[in-house]
């Protein structure tokens, strides 16, 4: 049954519930090995000004093309809806995909998304036929607004990009999961450990998007594999249904027939 348990993103169904970034790896070769070990079939990338002194951008692009993964271009670094819309249009032409990971940063200190500009950009992009995956905070009302303008997928943060702090606010994330039970929800950003990814999947999130935790580990290939297993394990646990936690102890071994009972 789990073999058919794909991740639905608009009209596309992915086999893997783990999406990975392509940045910060020690080399294009290590990036390729890590993507393969992650089992991901959707990877993020960006558009940037060329640096003629650095040819690694072209090498990475070649490796990304060879990966066969579905591409998810981002609008990282944009600070207004207009910048993000322009960059999304440029990405669609070059990468030949309607998917866009919408990022509009509101504050450079913690790279927190700007909720107002994100909604504005999402509304325009949806009208232009984009499949928008908005990076957003864990604010329930913001998520509601993004759904109202037509987003079919939401990507609330676990914690700020690159911090590895995990799920900062499980209460808010739970509320979003419970309030929008049929929306594809992906935790994007802040995941530092496989256990954190697993916890999010156990909560019922549909997928995990991460980059730094794999790319900056000592062995990205091995860490990618660890995350792949954690995401699968968490998903399986969610589907199986977690027991309810209790305040008091309850013996698991049957009490009836306990040896030495009343022998004092």
């Amino acid at each position: 049954m789990l073999d058919k348990d794909g991740l639905r993103l608009y009209d596309v169904e992915l086999n893997s519930r783990l999406l990975v970034g392509t940045a910060l790896y020690p080399s294009p070769e290590i990036m390729t090995a890590a993507i393969a070990a992650s089992g991901s079939d959707m990877i993020t990338l960006s558009l940037r000004r060329q640096n003629p002194a650095d040819n690694q951008g072209h090498a990475i692009w070649q490796k990304i093309q060879q990966s066969g993964c579905v591409l998810l271009p981002n609008t990282a670094g944009c600070h207004s809806a207009q910048e993000a819309i322009t960059l999304a249009q440029m990405s669609r032409e070059l990468f030949n995909t309607d998917f866009i990971k919408l990022e509009v940063i509101g504050d450079d200190y913690n790279l927190q998304p700007d909720p107002f500009e994100t909604v504005k950009a999402a509304e325009t992009l949806i009208k232009k036929g984009f499949k928008v995956l908005p990076y957003c905070t864990d604010d329930l009302v913001l998520c509601q607004r993004l759904l109202e303008v037509g987003c079919q997928v939401l990507m609330p943060w676990g914690s700020p990009i690159g911090t590895g702090q995990g799920l900062m606010n499980p209460y808010n994330l739970n509320a979003i999961r419970n309030r929008f039970p049929t929306t594809s929800l992906i935790i994007d950003a802040g995941i530092g450990k496989p256990s954190q990814a697993m916890a999010a999947m156990e909560m019922g999130f549909d997928g995990i998007l991460l980059n730094t935790a794999i790319a900056k580990s000592n062995d990205p290939q091995q860490m990618a594999s660890a995350f792949a297993q954690a995401v699968k394990g968490g998903r399986q646990a969610y589907l199986a249904g977690l027991m309810e936690s209790r305040q008091t102890a309850s013996p698991s071994t049957p009490v009836l027939g306990t040896p030495f009972w009343h022998q004092k």
């Binding site: 392509t22 990036m31 990338l45 940037r48 060329q50 981002n74 322009t86």
Partner: protein
């Protein structure tokens, strides 16, 4: 004609025909070995003054002095 490409000031020699450069002509110009500034123009997309210029409009989008061009290429991203 002075324009900015990716944040750097760039001076184009005036076109001989006297008409303004189109984006197509700018690309042709930058592809000449002496003018490329090291740019690889294989997989690029262009915005002019923060407006996306689709490939099909390169020939009829004309440049003005002072225009700001973004010439972007695929890069790693998270």
């Amino acid at each position: 004609m002075k324009i900015t490409i990716n944040g750097l000031a760039y001076e184009l020699t005036e076109p001989k025909h006297g008409d303004p450069y189109s984006i197509s002509q700018l690309i042709e110009y930058l592809q000449k070995p002496d003018n490329t500034a090291g740019l690889n123009l294989t997989d690029v997309v262009i915005a002019c003054n923060q407006t996306f210029i689709p490939r099909g409009q390169y020939h009829n989008t004309l440049l003005n002095s002072g225009d700001t061009i973004e010439l972007l290429s695929p890069m790693a991203g998270g």
